[in-house]
């Protein structure tokens, strides 16, 4: 009887495992294989798998023998590294000010720094074009007035330094969260031991704090490097207008050329190249993490972190620095969008124009069926992608965390692979599949859902690994011991305990789905217009007023989703595993928010919140 039951159970488990493996292979491996195969096909002017095409190395020959490729790689690296330098310079100072000094209004400052975390990159790029284009950019207008200059300029955002600035500013919120988490994870008594040994605080910073933070800094740097190298929004919005082409933009231009037919074979070869460039730092990232494990130390009394006392001048300087950052990263871009959305024709803001604003753009918008349709599409895609991705991730994570079979590492690897596939390349690969497999989902929003789901599966499983990992096995066993059967244990114990991680992950994936531009551009069609592509088309057509109004709608949606995600993160911190530390005197709510929203970035299963 028992043996029989055991067998049936085993067979049932085997079946569900096989199914899971199949789903993951379909989602992850099939697109990769198609991409790889397509890159070895000579389309002969047509599609890579058409009758006229043949196996060939012609794409790779073109990629590697063309000097332009190296220029593309150079541009891509330059943008990434430049943006990272900007982002880390700002984030290190900001994290230190917020975490380690007695700067006033720290919780407020914290919220303001991360406020722009959900803003899509292409919207920042559009705002910055309005602010800093050479002919009628707002800031340029002011500068010309102040310095009495004539003609265009003096500044131009449609250049490499301009792109570096915008990309760098956009990277700050996540980098800042990673660094504040690293500062917090540092045991304060290690530094106290330095000062009680007679070391000046400066010496402590150099000989203790910095070396101990190095693994976390390095892993944050590599992590952000991987996400900025696949950055598509800013190269396509700013770069194309300034004739600066990067690897991701080149792929896009091959897939959707302004004249002629798409060259999928060449695009695939470039895609494979981009994956390799992303993969290298990620492999290194995993290694850094493995090495940082040895810095685990015994914990003692959780002391209040001592804060450096700033002089009045220091406080003023610190607040000015952070204020300038918030102004550039969040306030000015948002304000210029608001301003432009109330203008019939865009022009440099004057008091007159601000006062005589019109709501015409919004009226047109809300009367437009296309707007309602694309807004509906975007929200639907966000909802379905969030639910589907998190549900799949929950099942995968449960196997990865709990199962002892060999399958677990296979599942873990499969679910991590999409992390190295840039969203644009994912879109391309999925497009290739459905060019040949005639399923009715091509040119609908569902193909977008599948692409987004695959792309963010890695993020979702990391999130659920943390959530399920923090539920001790004994809690489940206690349920079983006290007479609950498998299903009851699942519904009454596992689900409620894992729910906060699920909700938090859902909001993150939904946010990423709403703000994604590249997949929607590659896979969208006239019938599956998304909010992002609608904004993009309006902007491409030079309709500034509509673009701005749509962007304001988008920013509102992402702000709400981002805010909810923060709130949910705090909630999760309280409920799951009691990881929230005892409330100590002097702690403010802002601390709890950050603590819960970003798990320590150094441990592999506690991946940071990677909002690209």
């Amino acid at each position: 009887m028992t043996a029989l039951r055991g067998q049936r159970l085993a067979r049932g488990q085997l079946g569900s495992r096989a199914l899971l493996l199949l789903v993951l292979c379909y989602l992850v491996l099939v697109p990769l294989c198609i991409l790889l195969l397509a890159s070895f096909r000579d389309g002969g002017g047509g599609l890579p798998f058409s009758r006229r095409s043949s196996w060939s190395l012609v794409n790779y020959r073109e990629v590697f023998l063309d000097g332009r490729t190296y220029q593309l790689i150079g541009n891509t690296l330059l943008l990434s590294l430049g943006a990272l330098v900007v982002a880390f310079a700002i984030s290190i100072v900001a994290a230190w000010l917020v975490e380690r000094t007695n700067l006033p209004a720290r919780p407020f400052v914290f919220v303001m720094i991360v406020a722009g975390i959900g803003t899509p990159g292409f919207i920042s790029a559009i705002s910055w074009t309005l602010l800093l284009n050479p002919s009628n950019g707002v800031i340029n207008g002011w500068l010309r007035t102040i310095f009495g200059l004539q003609g265009d300029g003096p500044l131009n955002v449609l250049t490499m330094p301009g792109m570096i600035l915008v990309e760098g500013l956009g990277l700050v919120p996540v980098t800042f969260l990673l660094l504040t988490a690293a500062f917090r994870a540092l045991d304060a008594s290690l530094e106290d031991a330095g000062t009680t040994s007679g070391a000046h605080p400066r010496v402590v910073a150099r000989t203790i704090t910095l070396p101990l933070l190095t693994p976390a800094l390095l892993s944050a740097f590599v992590y952000q490097f991987a996400s900025t190298i696949e950055s598509f929004d800013i190269p396509v919005t700013l770069g194309l207008r300034g004739n600066i082409v990067l690897l991701p933009t080149e792929i896009f231009l091959r897939v959707q050329p302004s004249v002629g037919l798409p060259d999928y074979g060449l695009a695939s070869a470039y895609g494979v190249l981009l994956i390799v460039i992303v993969l290298l730092p990620l492999i290194y990232y995993q290694r850094v993490i493995a090495r940082s494990e040895r810095y685990a130390t015994i914990s003692g009394n959780a002391y209040r972190q001592r804060r450096a006392r700033l002089s009045t001048r220091g406080k003023v300087l610190g607040l000015s620095f952070l204020g300038l950052f918030v102004l550039l990263e969040f306030l000015l871009p948002t304000l210029v969008l608001l301003y432009a959305s109330f203008q019939r024709y865009y022009a440099v803001p004057t008091w007159d124009r601000i006062v005589n604003g019109t709501t015409q753009a919004y009226e047109q918008l809300f009367a437009s069926g296309l707007f309602r349709e694309s807004l509906g599409n975007s929200l639907l895609v966000a909802l379905v992608t969030g639910l589907a991705t998190m549900t799949l991730a929950a099942v995968v994570s449960w196997f990865v965390v709990r199962s002892r079979s060999a399958l677990r590492s296979v599942l873990d690897t499969l679910s991590f692979i999409p992390h190295a596939i840039p969203a644009l390349v994912m879109g391309l690969a999925i497009a290739l599949i459905y060019l040949y497999v005639t399923l009715p989902i091509y040119a609908t929003v569902w193909i977008i859902v599948i692409a987004l789901m695959t792309r963010y599966l890695s993020l979702a499983t990391r999130q659920m690994n943390t959530g399920i990992g923090s539920i001790k096995r004994e809690l489940e066993e206690a349920g079983a011991v006290h007479g609950g059967n498998g299903l009851q244990t699942f519904w009454r114990i596992l689900v409620p305990l894992a729910a906060p991680a699920y909700v938090n992950g859902f909001l993150l994936v939904a946010l990423l789905a709403v703000k994604n531009l590249s997949i929607a551009l590659v896979l969208g069609s006239a019938d599956s217009q998304m909010l992002a592509t609608l904004i993009w088309n309006r902007w491409d057509n030079g309709d500034t007023s509509q673009t701005a109004a749509l962007s304001v709608v988008m920013v509102v949606i992402t702000l709400v989703l981002g805010g909810l995600s923060f709130w949910a993160g705090e909630h999760a911190g309280i409920r799951v595993g009691g990881r929230r530390r005892r409330r100590r005197p002097g702690r403010r709510d802002g601390d709890a928010v950050a603590e819960a929203s970003v798990q320590a970035p150094v441990a592999p299963d506690r991946a940071p919140v990677p909002l690209p």
Partner: protein, 378 residues
């Protein structure tokens, strides 16, 4: 010498000020080991961190040796104080070797020590704690006990005037803890280093200290030698926090040459008059008739007998539970509705369900006020 005078430290919490340390004063003579003992949240660690300079007090005065390190006019930052400190977490730097950890204080003090001098000092310090030969290991390869020793070596390597120990034994397992207790005490005596020791463990406090201060809510409730604290607690908090004790609230019915007679739920108890003036009733020289007091005696000071034999302070009790723990047997008995603890050598333990509890008058102490028996988490 350490001198702390009317130390104040408060934190804002939920809009009001919490007095973590509330007018604390004490003095540690040169070469002594002085212990701050109390439950968590009593302000002992905050006091230690104020002495180290890791917290800035809100009032008072701290003197280390002949340097005023904190007063309303002076503040010496931590790194300029002549101290060594051992942390509860040991705070061993994971990115350094054992040698580098121990040598750190000599490398950062701004003076240029010749390399040979540093090596000699580090060798000596590591030798003192029994870590000679481990110099080239990474600190994280050490066991918990070894990290603790390294932490001690690092604190001693520059021969500081004052050694600060913040619950250094609480992360060790029971056996190692007992061993390190003796090691630290021996080392402290040998080096004659003035030491301030913070713990919540009464056994550590009693076995290691020259003097002990029992803290509660940021104030010292009793200070004295370990013997004084244990044998002559002056209030019910100390009596209960240090060692196990029985508390019998009652009313004074007579004061005569034999002592004080107190009516309790168990029966009438005869106890000697308190030895400290003003100890009994408020403002008086001793307990007066009608005053509410508490009688206390230790479980190991009383005995269970089968025959009352007309002795005073002997009451019939019912045995609820006897637990044999090896050398001694612990009894839970009840008398007149009050539960009492008795600890007797196992060889003389009674086996009956009922017995008589005999508490000789000289082991009973009278504490002011009617105490509520409170169990403090040790």
């Amino acid at each position: 010498m350490i001198q702390v005078e009317t130390l104040q430290k408060h934190y804002p919490d939920a809009g009001r000020q919490v007095h973590a340390v509330d007018g604390l004063s004490f003095q540690v003579p040169e070469g002594e080991l002085y212990t701050l003992l109390g439950p968590s949240g009593c302000g002992k660690t905050t006091t230690l961190r104020c002495v180290a300079g890791l917290e800035r007090p809100d009032g008072g005065r701290i003197v280390l040796g002949d340097t005023v390190v904190y007063s309303d006019r002076a503040y010496v930052p931590t790194y300029q104080r002549d101290i060594g400190m051992v942390f509860q977490s040991y705070a061993i730097w994971p990115h350094m070797t054992v040698y580098e950890n121990a040598a750190y204080p000599l490398r950062v003090d701004g003076k240029r020590h010749p390399r040979r001098e540093v090596e000699a000092a580090v060798d000596e310090a590591l030798d003192l704690v029994g870590l000679a030969g481990y110099e080239d290991r990474m600190a994280t390869q050490l066991s918990g006990g070894q990290q603790q020793r390294l932490s001690l070596a690092r604190a001693l390597v520059r021969r500081p005037r004052v050694l600060l120990l913040d619950e250094p034994l609480s992360n060790l397992d029971a056996k190692l803890r007992e061993h390190m207790r003796q090691e630290i005490r021996l080392l402290q005596r040998r080096l004659r280093i003035t030491t301030l020791f913070v713990t919540h463990d009464q056994v550590e406090a009693l076995s290691m200290s020259d003097r002990v201060a029992v803290l509660r809510d940021g104030r010292i409730v009793q200070e004295g030698t370990p013997q004084e604290i244990y044998l002559r607690p002056t209030n019910d908090f100390v009596a209960q926090f240090v060692g196990a004790t029985n508390l019998l609230p009652g009313t004074v019915v007579a004061v005569d040459a034999a002592g004080v007679r107190v009516a309790t739920e168990v029966g009438e108890v005869l106890a000697p008059a308190p030895d400290l003036p003003g100890d009994g009733a408020p403002g008086g020289a001793g307990p007066t008739v009608g005053a509410a007091v508490t009688v206390t005696f230790r479980p190991e000071d009383v005995e269970l007998v089968d025959d009352p034999a007309g002795r005073p302070n002997t009451w019939p009790v019912e045995v609820l539970l006897s637990s044999f723990t090896g050398a001694v047997t612990d009894f839970r008995v009840t008398a007149g509705g009050t539960e009492l603890m008795v600890r007797v050598p196992s060889r003389t333990a009674t086996r009956g369900r009922t017995a008589y509890l005999h508490a000789p008058a000289d082991v009973c102490r009278i504490l002011p006020g009617a105490a509520e028996p409170v169990r403090e988490a040790a």
